[in-house]
């Protein structure tokens, strides 16, 4: 992505390239709602610039993890730190793509106006579009290769285009961390791969720490640094090679789970929950 180099990242200026620094640290984290614990005793660390997949069955608490990182949901117990302090709402260092439903075919607004709201949407007053704001939106769209969509109506985009626009919205203001909730669901295999390539490029070229919730790990597996696997009320973390083994997943689920590899290094998980990772294999 050529546009990547055109964006300055003031936050990264002081950091030594390749140096590791912990951006997320969870200790004995217990997560749930008033009457129900979703998962407990989670420990993990995410380093700056890592590309992390968050995998697990429906209802395992993946979105809840994101909501905690965004300061929208409190842990029941344990500690969670983001950039060295407890999560807080409205953190400009985090870009977020929710698994959203509020945009559909009846959303009649052009992509540039939509993305611009990420810059101006929290301000008071009517605010006529200023040049810097338009440019920030255009830059964000450019950074995900969606400059040509600027004047298209959000409601008319295809699933893949829409995910790129959402990603552009998240990239406004050059965040240091991206939280992407199921961006690949509803995309076919080719569009999935395109989006993964785009996200990987953002992670590598800008050192943006990225957590991506997915159902199927296979489109991601080549690009990942780490996997956070949530199942059965517990969390396992490590490199894909550490986590995606029969032993580790058997321990996580508490029932026998088999991890199979095909000739192209795709993973199929048998047992545990419904054939995770097997859908596209």
């Amino acid at each position: 992505m050529s546009a990547a180099s055109s964006v300055q990242r003031p936050h990264a200026a002081g950091s030594v390239p390749g140096a590791c620094s912990t951006v997320i640290r969870a200790e004995h984290l217990e997560v749930g709602f008033r009457d129900k614990v979703v998962w407990r005793d989670a420990r993990f660390e995410i380093q700056r610039g890592e590309f992390v997949a968050v995998i697990g069955p429906n209802g395992a608490g993946k979105t809840t993890l994101f909501r905690m990182l965004l300061g929208l949901h409190r842990p029941l117990a344990g500690s969670l730190e983001v950039f060295g302090s407890p999560p807080r709402r409205g953190n400009d260092r985090i870009g977020y793509v929710p698994q959203r439903h509020s945009v559909d075919i009846d959303t009649h607004i052009d992509c540039e106006s939509f993305v611009r709201l990420a810059v101006t949407g929290t301000r008071w007053g009517p605010g006529l579009a200023r040049r810097e704001e338009r440019e920030a939106a255009a830059r964000a769209l450019g950074s995900v290769g969606a400059a040509d969509l600027a004047h298209k109506c959000v409601g008319t985009l295809s699933g893949g285009e829409l995910q790129r626009v959402f990603l552009a919205e998240a990239m406004v203001g050059n965040p240091e961390m991206l939280l992407l909730d199921e961006p690949l669901s509803n995309l076919d295999l080719r569009r999935s791969r395109d989006l993964v390539a785009l996200v990987t490029d953002l992670v590598r070229s800008r050192n943006v720490t990225t957590l991506l919730v997915a159902h199927d790990i296979n489109p991601l597996i080549q690009s990942l640094d780490k996997v956070v696997y949530i199942a059965n009320g517990r969390v396992a973390t490590g490199t894909p090679d550490e986590v995606l083994t029969s032993e580790s997943l058997t321990a996580l689920y508490g029932v026998h789970v088999e991890v199979l590899h095909d000739s192209r290094n795709n993973v199929v998980i048998v047992g545990g929950e419904e054939g995770l990772g097997g859908e596209h294999a």
């Binding site: 509020s102 939509f114 949407g121 829409l162």
Partner: protein, 301 residues
């Protein structure tokens, strides 16, 4: 009154009458507010909630009539509490049509009871249900302008936040916007707008000013400010043309202006939908961006 082809003379003639001046002043103010609030109604998919609030307002107005109070205060009291209730239950709750439908049916029944207890039943009910723009007093005009000014100031102040929270609530929440408070403020603004609009168009026809103009606007322009401008223009035009036609057709028969207002916005809506359809079919692809392309597989994002 005789109609001439000189529009200026026609308006001079109409505006000689105080009731017509009042109708134009109140109607224009309300069209302005309804056009703006209506854009957010369409954006937030709150059309049914809008309709329901009209019904809630009906029982409030009827109750006020029974108590001998100006109906607009009954409208305000009931619509504002209804709106606050919907907002507190959350936006997803506010789009649950079964529950809303159940409550609004009860509210209409309650309004009917209030009116049956009141002796002057028929005319009062008629004017609440369908509006009585030609009977607006100067005092009501003043109140309408004051209430509208408050609504407009709040909308201007909250414009970008409301837009963000309406279009993209999850991201807006993550960015720190208070969704509940914004939803509450919006619903109260909607309640005020409905309460004053009822005088012109009545609770049953509220859609014509609150939803139709904005529904036309979003199909004509993709920019939010542009859409609001078009929405206001359509609402104002509908009111003006409706009053105009009602005034000059009164010598034939005293037709209700509400009918002409509703008809104008409806005809414009149909015309715009047809025009977009025709353009999409006959203008080569790429030149048209107004109409959603049905072949662009959207999935269930």
């Amino acid at each position: 009154m005789s109609f001439s082809w000189n529009i200026v003379t026609d308006f001079r003639l109409m505006w000689q009458f105080e009731f017509m001046r009042n109708a134009f002043e109140a109607g224009t103010t309300i069209a302005l507010v309804a056009g703006i609030i209506g854009y957010f109604v369409v954006l937030r998919r709150s059309a049914f909630a809008t309709h329901a609030l009209g019904h809630v307002g009906f029982s409030g107005a009827a109750g006020a009539v029974l108590l001998g109070v100006n109906p607009v205060f009954g409208l305000l009291a009931f619509t504002m509490s209804g709106a606050a209730g919907m907002a507190v239950l959350g936006r997803r709750a506010a789009s649950r049509d079964i529950e809303i439908g159940t409550v609004l049916a009860f509210m209409l029944g309650l309004g009917l009871l209030f009116l049956s207890l009141y002796k002057g039943f028929a005319t009062e009910a008629y004017s609440i249900l369908f509006g009585e723009v030609l009977g607006i007093s100067s005092a009501s005009v003043l109140f309408t302008i004051e209430a509208s000014a408050v609504v407009l100031v709040v909308v201007v102040l909250l414009y970008r936040r409301l837009l963000f929270a309406s279009l993209d609530e999850d991201v807006a929440e993550a960015k720190g916007l208070p969704l509940l408070a914004l939803g509450l403020v919006f619903m109260v603004l909607l309640a005020v707008a409905i309460s004053i609009a009822v005088q012109v168009i009545g609770v049953l026809l509220i859609f014509a000013l609150m939803v139709t103009p904005a529904a036309i606007a979003v199909r004509l322009t993709k920019s939010p400010l542009g859409a609001i401008a078009v929405s206001v223009a359509v609402a104002v035009f509908s009111v003006w043309l409706g009053l105009f036609v009602a005034f000059f057709s009164a010598s034939v028969n005293p037709y209700p202006p509400s009918f002409f207002i509703v008809t104008t916005s409806f005809v414009l809506y149909v015309a715009v939908r047809v025009a977009i359809e025709v353009r999409a079919r006959f203008v080569p692809r790429g030149a048209v961006d107004l109409h959603p392309n049905p072949s662009a597989g959207r999935g269930s994002i």
